[in-house]
């Protein structure tokens, strides 16, 4: 191997670690992220998509309230857009999300950019990953997705249409990144780190509540937000522990370590979502 080649590999080494920060104080629950996601990712259309246990959605717009502990009128509501949290396990350099370690056919894996992939033509439908996911972010196609009649015309050709009997989930719209990279390559830019992108939920958010970017870049908005006082992660009690206790616990057990951060100034939201 000559030095020149090494140099090229060094330069092209993936520096990105995609993450997301969602500011719930800015979210009006308008639902545009959910519609845009469905449109971009060719989500299946069943006879009745209002039927929650049966429907397939990547982004669930959860409406939560503190009415268990508070009485009218001291109640509040907030919307939590919940998608795949793109976990990385205890060690980012050797990512081991709960779903990846159980997949028998490598249909789901973590890319070097930190995005947990899902290839549904490889999936055999055993649903281990769905069971192991702490966030219920994965959906199973119990029925054949039907894009009735002319609905087929709005299908995005960058995303393969799902088939019956497979698990699907959000992939941070990684096909958009591929599309942007292809465009960059056509312009002669071969450095993979030169290309940024925005998933459709973030670009469709009218109030800019969803911010997407590179967590490895300390200057990116998303990494600043992830360190904000208001930031928390879903069902992730370990974040509150002191640093040495955290280290000790991480030796004992694998934590999902999601890369989606939520921001809220409401204590009850933070407590509820941590299962305190």
């Amino acid at each position: 191997m000559n030095t020149n080649e090494t140099h090229v590999t060094q330069e092209n080494k993936m520096k990105r670690r995609w993450g997301m920060a969602i500011d719930l104080d800015k979210c009006t629950g308008c639902g545009q992220c959910s519609i845009a996601c469905a449109q971009e990712n060719n989500l299946p259309i069943f006879e009745d998509d209002s039927d929650q246990p049966k429907r397939v959605a990547y982004l669930e717009l959860m409406k939560v309230t503190n009415d268990r502990d508070a009485k009218y009128p001291n109640v509040e509501v907030t919307f939590i857009p919940k998608m795949c949290q793109q976990c990385e396990g205890n060690d980012p350099s050797n990512p081991k999300p709960p779903c990846v370690s159980v997949c028998p056919v490598v249909a789901t894996d973590v890319g070097d950019d930190g995005v947990v992939s899902q290839v549904w033509s490889r999936c055999i439908g055993c649903r281990y990953c769905q069971v192991s996911c702490p966030y219920e972010a994965r959906a199973f196609n119990w029925w054949k997705p039907r894009h009735e009649g002319s609905f087929k015309k709005s299908l995005n050709s960058d995303v393969s249409v799902m088939s019956r009997g497979t698990i699907v989930k959000c992939t941070f719209c990684s096909h958009i990144w591929k599309r942007e990279r292809d465009k960059a390559v056509a312009q002669g830019i071969t450095d993979i780190n030169a290309v940024l992108y925005t998933p459709t939920c973030a670009s469709s958010c009218p109030t800019g509540a969803i911010v997407f970017g590179d967590l490895n870049d300390p200057d990116s908005e998303v990494s600043k937000l992830s360190k904000d006082k208001r930031a928390f992660r879903l069902v992730h009690t370990i974040d509150e522990k002191p640093e040495d206790e955290k280290k000790r616990l991480m030796k004992l057990k694998d934590y999902p370590n999601p890369k989606v951060y939520y921001l809220s100034s409401r204590q009850w939201v933070r407590d509820m979502m941590r299962f305190k």
Binding site: T28, C30, I35, K63, V75, S154, S203
Partner: protein, 649 residues
């Protein structure tokens, strides 16, 4: 010839088979068939590929005129992105554009009304038949029997208004909205300067959930946060707006107006504020006599101190806004409440609120009889022989929808809509219109081709108008694009706002009577979901995906009941209920117990229970409007359906 031995024959045959198999394997055919097998078992549809490009279009649906970018794969539109990604319509429009139940051609009714039996006809035939019906009425001096219902103040709405007025009828109505109600109650619709205010007090207007122009409200919301603008929400149930507001003042159901009157009382009596609007003296006398703070406090459930504090906040603000018009997409209010809230704006001497009226497209003097006060008034008290419905769905959305359907059975009705809705069921002709993505914009670039034979609603109306003997002269345009520059204009209201003491006089008595009813102890409170709104979103499967299980699931609509009230009335979680009002009952909804609604309230989602509107919306839940109050407001002519009393069983 050598005789082939049996052994050789077997050898040759075996060799041929072995050779064939080897060739077959090396040809790759078995692997291909494996792939076919996989594709067949997984039954995967592959979208057709094509050249990717982005089309730019100016969306002229609302006054915002957003630049939208449509991602095309070949001739298919696959994604809509807008410059400020603020429009709620944009994302769902593709579902309308490619809806499998889009109307392909003009349709003529073949069965009885309501039976959903139509046959395709040509545009020429439909236009000829429709125009001859109108011409005959005009000739017979019965122009007053022509009516129109518009969805909102849009280009096609203004064109239809012009056509009807030019034909000699004043019967043009708009579906109930904050604008129509304000026009009746205040003499114009209030234009709020949300960009330059420092304090907003909203009386039930769900400003962040689709109220008014959602596109603009989202932008304002961000600016308010940045600038520290105070948003105070006076409301009955906990919603996104109350939670995002700086302060939520919880009032008893239906007392928003009374709180406003209490604040007015304090400002007039203790702060010496006056208003220059006509009839203020008479109005303020009633406010002072009938709405002392102690009484207002008792009725609304808000402390006297809090009322004073709220009024003080209002007058201390530099440029405050007080907003009325309860709801988000479906808006309802009483004139007394609209006047009281607008009165607060005048008492606070704010510069951030002005009254406007639609200018129309040049003056059309109409000789017709004065119109009814509003759509619901018209449905209840007037008759018609020909009705045009422009992208509206009054049979579904009006609380008097059933009465309208009955009257429509005896009349000739033309409905302009891209999908068959409840109103179209009762129409003689259904004319297919287009979504905002289709057709050219005013830069005249053809964008996405209109679906099959669909046309822009404005073009349909111009087409009809040109065939009318009387109205044709008022339509010099060949297409609605030519007409566009003259549309969407507003003018200042010259007469201005005047207090109406007459309607205020008996308000408290009527309120007492309503509340005093022991038969109906609970208030029916409409709640709306994002996107579903008051029903428009339900035809789209991706919108159905956003519905949560405590709103609608597995064929049942859920209503919200406060936990304390649930104990009081003996209701348990998931129990099936009937809701009964003076007007009737709706059955078999499920109860969800939650403290996000006030005690003695049934929170019911709007937008469900369509008769038609595609298979995705049909037979889903119940339409709460069927039992909502149809008591007409004297000024706005709209039913104040927000004030409905019910009981549960």
């Amino acid at each position: 010839m050598k005789k082939i031995e049996r052994k050789d024959f077997l050898l040759l045959g075996g060799g041929a088979i072995a050779g064939g198999l080897t060739g077959y394997v090396f040809s790759g055919a078995p692997f291909l068939s494996f792939q076919w097998l996989v594709e067949w078992t997984q039954d995967q549809y592959v979208p057709t590929k094509g050249e990717e490009k982005y089309l730019q279009k100016l969306c002229e649906y609302c006054p915002n005129k957003c630049q939208i970018s449509i991602r095309m794969i070949g001739d298919r539109a696959v994604k809509v992105e807008s410059s400020n990604s603020c429009c709620p319509l944009g994302q769902a429009t593709l579902q309308l554009l490619y809806h499998p139940e889009r109307i392909k051609t003009p349709l003529k009714r073949t069965g009885s009304k309501g039976s959903d039996k139509f046959a395709p006809v040509s545009w020429d035939e439909a236009m000829k038949d429709i125009s001859s019906k109108v011409n005959k009425l005009v000739k017979d001096n019965k122009a007053d029997m022509i009516a129109a219902v518009n969805k909102d103040y849009s280009l096609s709405g203004e064109l239809l208004e012009r056509m009807i007025k030019a034909s000699g009828s004043a019967n043009v109505y708009y579906e109930s909205s904050e604008k129509t109600i304000a026009q009746g109650a205040l003499g114009g619709f209030a234009e709020y300067d949300f960009a330059n205010t420092d304090c907003i007090i909203s009386f039930g207007a769900k400003l962040l959930e689709g109220w008014g122009n959602q596109c603009q409200m989202n932008q304002h919301f961000l600016n308010w946060k940045k600038k520290g603008v105070k948003l105070i929400q006076v409301d009955t149930n906990c919603s996104t707006t109350t939670s995002l507001a700086d302060e939520w003042i919880a009032v008893k159901p239906g007392t928003e107006g009374i709180l406003a009157l209490g604040m007015a009382n304090y400002l007039i009596k203790e702060k010496g504020r006056t208003s220059g609007a006509p009839n203020f003296a008479a109005w303020s006398q009633i406010v002072i006599n009938q709405y002392p703070l102690a009484k207002v406090s008792q009725l609304t459930g808000v402390d006297v101190k809090k009322i004073k504090e709220l009024a003080d906040t209002l007058i201390q603000a530099r440029n405050p806004i007080v907003v009325a018009g309860k709801g988000s997409k479906g808006v309802s209010s009483s004139s007394v409440e609209m006047q009281a809230v607008y009165g607060l704006n005048t008492l606070a001497r704010t510069g951030a609120v002005a009254l406007k009226a639609p200018a129309g497209m040049g003056a059309i003097a109409t000789t017709g009889k004065a119109p009814a006060a509003g759509l619901d008034d018209f449905i209840k008290n007037r008759d018609f022989e020909v009705m045009f419905v422009n992208e509206a769905d009054p049979v579904y959305k009006s609380v008097l929808g059933k009465n309208l359907a009955e009257k429509m059975e005896k009349a000739f009705v033309v409905s302009i809509t891209p999908l068959i809705n409840d109103t179209a069921l009762y129409s003689d002709y259904v004319l297919p219109s287009i979504s905002v993505l289709e057709g050219p914009d005013s830069n005249n670039a053809e964008i996405v081709k209109p679906y099959k034979q669909s046309k822009h609603a404005g073009d349909i109306i111009i087409g009809v108008a040109k065939l009318l003997e009387k109205a044709a002269v008022s339509f010099q345009w060949n297409s609605c694009l030519e007409a566009m520059p003259g549309a969407g204009q507003t003018k200042n209201v010259t007469a201005g706002f005047a207090f109406n003491a007459e309607i205020l006089k008996n308000y408290l008595n009527e309120y007492d009577k309503l509340m005093g009813s022991t038969e109906f102890p609970m208030a029916l409170l409409p709640v709306e979901l994002p996107y579903v709104g008051d029903g428009d979103g339900l035809a789209f499967p991706y919108v159905l995906k956003t519905i949560d299980r405590h709103t609608y699931s597995q064929g049942k609509l859920w209503v919200l009941i406060n936990r304390e009230s649930a104990d009081k009335y003996g209701v348990s979680e998931g129990e099936s209920l009937d809701i009964i009002s003076e007007r009737g009952e709706i059955g078999s909804v499920k109860a969800h117990l939650s403290d996000i609604v006030a005690p003695d309230v049934v929170g019911i989602p709007l937008g469900f229970g369509h008769l038609a509107y595609t298979k995705y919306a049909e037979d889903k839940g119940v339409n709460a409007k069927e039992i909502m109050s149809d008591k007409l407001d004297p000024l706005s002519g709209s039913a104040n359906w927000w004030a409905t009393r019910v009981k549960i069983s």
